[in-house]
């Protein structure tokens, strides 16, 4: 049998296209897919607005349960950085769907790299703020990657794909998955690990390289969870210290580094004092009686 290109495209991408004919939603197009499900842009006919609809990709009972849990998890979080859930339902074929706000913006991995370290660190701080809030509510993300962090036009951050409310499923994405996730036993420090990798992604291209930042990322991504920052809030605090020119916990400074950091931080008063001293010395020299 020879299939047309159109049929192949349907079989590749639309093999799970669900039937929403009995609902208020009209599917428009696919906007993403991952291990857990496919996300469509859809029209909410009742409220006349576009929404994002996530549908399980595999029709197993555990997947359906997992998605329902994601809905409950998301519904319990009210934060500007976390995408709200509007509705949850079930399709005739048994699959669960989740209706969320349609997030506009750019995925972090497609977002233009920050030119200034301060901009990158501000963005990172916003990401940490959302994750720390979720942790306070007892929710672990478990799969933080640049692909599920959206950045809006004004630098606002939205985190997608919350789904692993407990620490009993591996989840995660290669490169961002904490080592202990493979053993399916992890806590909020798995998110600290992923954030450490993301910090490297956000700042790795900036020059000159910052040793304190590298130390922060290294501590956040330590293989042993006990060697990492105990919380996202503490990771964020250390990054803020770095941004403010203060000493960071992750990096014991040498005397030279401390002097250089203080010189950078207090550059303006230092220049004034040095200028003053230079002028005084010159005056002393030239006013000395001949």
């Amino acid at each position: 049998m020879t299939l047309s290109d159109e049929a192949i495209a349907r079989l590749r991408r639309l093999d799970d296209r669900p039937d929403f004919s009995g609902t208020r939603y009209e599917l428009l197009d696919e906007i993403g897919r991952g291990g857990m499900g496919i996300v469509f842009r859809a029209r909410d006919r009742e409220l006349d607005r576009d929404v994002a609809v996530k549908v399980t990709a595999w029709h197993t009972a555990s997947d359906a349960e997992r998605l329902r849990r994601e809905a409950r998890t998301l519904a319990s979080l009210e934060h500007a950085g976390i995408v709200p859930v509007h509705d949850v339902g079930r399709l005739p074929d048994g699959r669960v769907f989740l209706v969320m706000s349609l997030v506009r913006g750019t995925r972090l991995d497609a977002h233009a790299p920050a030119r200034e370290r301060a901009d990158a660190l501000r963005l990172f701080d916003r990401i940490c703020d959302s994750v720390a809030f979720a942790h306070e509510c007892g929710v672990i993300h478990g799969d933080l990657t640049p692909a599920n962090i959206m950045v809006g036009r004004f630098g606002e951050v939205r985190i997608l794909d919350w789904g692993l409310a407990g620490g009993s499923e591996a989840g995660g994405t290669d490169g961002y998955r904490a080592p202990e996730q493979t053993a399916r036993q992890f806590d909020t420090r798995a998110d600290v690990y992923a954030l450490g990798v993301i910090l490297g992604d956000l700042t790795g291209h900036l020059s000159p390289a910052s040793r304190p930042l590298r130390s922060i990322a290294a501590r956040a991504t330590a293989a042993d969870p006990d060697s990492r920052y105990p919380s996202v809030a503490e990771l964020a605090a250390d990054v803020r210290r770095c941004a403010d020119g203060q000493a960071v916990l992750a990096h014991p400074e040498t005397g030279l580094e401390r002097t250089a950091r203080l010189a950078r931080t207090y550059r303006a008063p230092l220049v004034l004092v040095l200028t003053y001293l230079a002028v005084r010395i010159l005056l002393l020299v030239f006013q000395r009686p001949s």
């Binding site: 049998m1 020879t2 299939l3 047309s4 290109d5 159109e6 049929a7 192949i8 349907r10 079989l11 590749r12 991408r13 639309l14 093999d15 799970d16 669900p18 039937d19 004919s21 009995g22 897919r33 291990g35 496919i38 990709a57 595999w58 029709h59 399709l91 005739p92 074929d93 048994g94």
Partner: protein
Amino acid sequence: MHFPATRHSVVRDLGSVDPAVRTAAYDGLVRSYWRPVYLYIRLRWRRGEQDAQDLTQEFFARAFEREYLERYDPAKARFRTFVRTCLDRFLANHDQAAARLKRGGDFVITALDFGQADAEIATRAPDEQADPERWFHREWIRGLFGEAVETLRIRAAAAGHARAFALFHRYDIDEDGGERPTYAALAREYGMPVTGVTNELAWARRAFREIVLERLRRICATDGEFRAEARDLLGVDPP
């Protein structure tokens, strides 16, 4: 991580010491690869129909005789990339006249429908023809999916799901000038509730995907390659 013992790979069987197993493996490989190989020779190497047909047969026969494909190293590339590389090398070194005289050996290739492949080329715009690598990949997918649909038809009939296959064919494969039938229209056409259509389609699609993954597993050498191909092809992480 390796394939579990029950999961069979024809790529690994290419190196079997049992001649029957090895021949069967090559046969499976030819079924999956002849179209991309033929079209690649026609477009990338700009050979005429007869020449390309001879070279396609010759490539597989030579590969069988000289054990080209047994040298595949999964650490270096995906198997389909390796096949294309071997094909380029084969064509670059080919002495056409001598090779055609020697064609054959112990491996007999089943009849291949070159006419249909040529008809496919004729329908394409020249700018589409300009990227033979894309053709190779696309035809590889077309071959894989075509076999999977045929297998699904047979399995559906045997399992009492002939209607599921008919709906699947109607909704996901048939061409109706670009306009897809709605589930409601299919329900009317087949005299069943809409939920029946969704359930039948769900069965057929799930079975189709399982067959594709099953075949993909057979033509990949390692679990890692299989998973990477499955992600590229269907956007899924297989269980």
